[in-house]
Subunit: 340 residues, 2 copies
DNA sequence: CTGAAAGCGCTTACAG
DNA sequence: CTGAAAGCGCTTACAG
């Protein structure tokens, strides 16, 4: 097995150059010759050597996909959508999962992508300015999802508008005592998602004339973090009647905290999440739906265009979101919820 | 940028061969020479060309990870664990997500892995006999998780024993009318997981003297499939008092069906799943926990050993499972549940 | 310890 | 339309 192009050439009675052309469909090759080459290649079970081809051509037919947490639904779904588009285009996907600090530091230090890929897809991996520079030094197209990295093609949603719709929903239900579970730790440049959702929370309160009522708790965008945040809210001196949680997974954790406290979402306290996770429906969680598959797909398609040489200016693609109302949000009850 | 080994050689005043040796730490190179080479490489920001190196050496420093559904928690978690081990060992991971029929057919037809990887990791992708052969033709080590593919290193759990523990739990609680949601469609060779869990279900009933009480519904291992299956059970002429669901995600769907029917898990009907999904706790679902991260990690470590030339016979690694009891299972109530 | 040389398996102008 | 030749950037016996 593993016969070479030269063997195919010998078998077909032509030169290696002709085999190369015939098999890739480039240059002028007579139909008869092409047929001979193709059947010789088939007979020998010939497979091109990607390394040799890559060395000679200078491109790799491979892209790098960088992601912080494959194991989380959001990222796994993005990967799934992107990988599909790329695979169907005959492009291989190198996966780098670098959510933890050291993994990420090492990734940017060693940059295993160097000379290995034709393009890079960064999926909601917070990037510092110097990290953006490092990626740019790769000298290949970079497409990002959920970031604002200068010089890259950006795919995302309007986080502020989406979060605002969640807040308006709660306000329309009569809630005025609304808490926010999100992230307030300083985040790397360009990863504005948590901040935008928080700003929308603040702005909505402000707009409703209850700006001084802001109650924000960090949840770290994990299930456990969401649970801790909600537990903190439950043990605070002021119990909100509703909570806007910046991600569904944090909201799942919050639901667990409620269950443990014997409280029923919707009835005792309203909860709205963000994402429309696969399981939001199972948990009866109201949420802001964002098109995750579509974002992964769009990003991959842009990447394909870039790999094929599209010279346009960096693009910005903003996809739509919408509210999905379920049992976890309900009108504020007249009597209850007044703790202060 | 992208300087070559030759430039480093010139800069360091040595031959390319010496640079190659010095940088990779093979062969005899004097300390002084090595230092000169290293600093020249650093000064030139030299990065080896993977393609050239791979072509010259015949290995790729890359492994292929094949998986049916990245977007599902179980697979995403396996990937995460395996990718980490491999990345930390300096090995790149090519991801192939081929759950759908066509994608999978095309994958095995084109075998994009050929000449591209040093080894393959197959994560719970049902393989037919001919597919196993195709992988073997790759002539690289193959490690599998959750399969019984001959000639490969297998990592997994004892599905029969694990499922038996779930059944025993239900039987101990006094349930005798126990249904099973799993998969009964013919599955490809070697993917015995669904069958083993089903067999354990049947065997347990048999052992308990209620063999004629088997009630099996297919759920396709998806959330929606689980919901449909449970809905079917709920509309059947015989309502079980407990259900063993062969995966947590199907159980989540089943929970949704229960909620829609106004039934409460644990009180009205007992439910036990399989996996201990991240969200099983949030949903208060009793389940059989299997060590997913550990399986991914173990598989990757075996893969590493193989890549490094371990000539041992194919190995079989079986990891432990354990019951996790939560609110979705409860004792059979004396009066209720008698429908037939 | 170090270098010259061949070779890994393709691709691509350049001729014809 | 087809071929000879150089080149892509490493690695590895083989000498010394």
């Amino acid at each position: 097995m593993a016969s070479s192009l030269d063997e195919v050439a010998r078998q077909a009675g032509v030169s290696p150059a002709t085999v190369s052309r015939a098999l890739r469909g480039v240059g002028r090759v007579s139909e008869a010759t092409r047929a001979r080459v193709v059947s010789a290649a088939a007979a020998l079970d010939y497979v091109i050597s990607p390394a040799a081809s890559s060395l000679a051509r200078g491109t790799t037919g491979t892209v790098g996909v960088v992601v912080p947490y494959v194991e989380r639904w959001f990222f796994a779904t993005l990967i799934s959508a992107a990988e599909r588009v790329l695979r169907e285009a005959g492009i291989s996907v190198l996966l780098y999962n670098v959510g933890d600090q050291e993994g990420r530091a090492r990734f940017f230090h060693e940059l295993p992508l160097r000379r290995r890929v034709d393009a890079v897809l960064v999926l909601s991996l917070p990037l510092s300015a110097s990290e953006v520079d490092l990626l740019r030094d790769l000298a290949v197209p970079v497409v990002t999802v959920g970031l604002d990295a200068p010089g890259t093609d950006c795919v995302g949603i309007d986080d502020h508008a989406a979060a605002t719709s969640a807040m308006r929903h709660l306000l329309h239900l009569g809630h005025r005592d609304i808490a926010f579970i999100g992230e307030d730790t300083p985040v790397p440049l360009g990863f504005t998602t948590p901040l935008r959702r928080r700003d929308a929370y603040r702005d909505a309160l402000h707009e409703a004339g209850i700006a001084d009522g802001a109650l924000e708790v960090p949840g770290g965008f994990t299930i456990d973090g969401g649970e801790r945040a909600m537990t903190r809210l439950l043990s605070g001196h002021r119990l909100p009647t509703a909570v806007f949680v910046a991600s569904d997974e944090m909201a799942f954790g919050a639901l667990r905290a409620l269950r443990r406290a014997g409280l029923r979402p919707g009835r005792d306290i309203s909860l709205i999440g963000f994402d429309d996770h696969d399981l939001a429906d199972v948990l009866d969680l109201s949420t802001v739906a964002q098109p995750v598959l579509e974002q992964g797909k769009a990003a991959a398609q842009i990447l394909l265009r870039r790999v094929r040489g599209d010279p346009d200016e960096p693009s910005r693609t903003v996809l739509d979101t919408h509210l999905v109302l379920r049992g976890s949000t309900a009108p504020q009850r007249e009597a209850a919820g007044e703790h202060d």
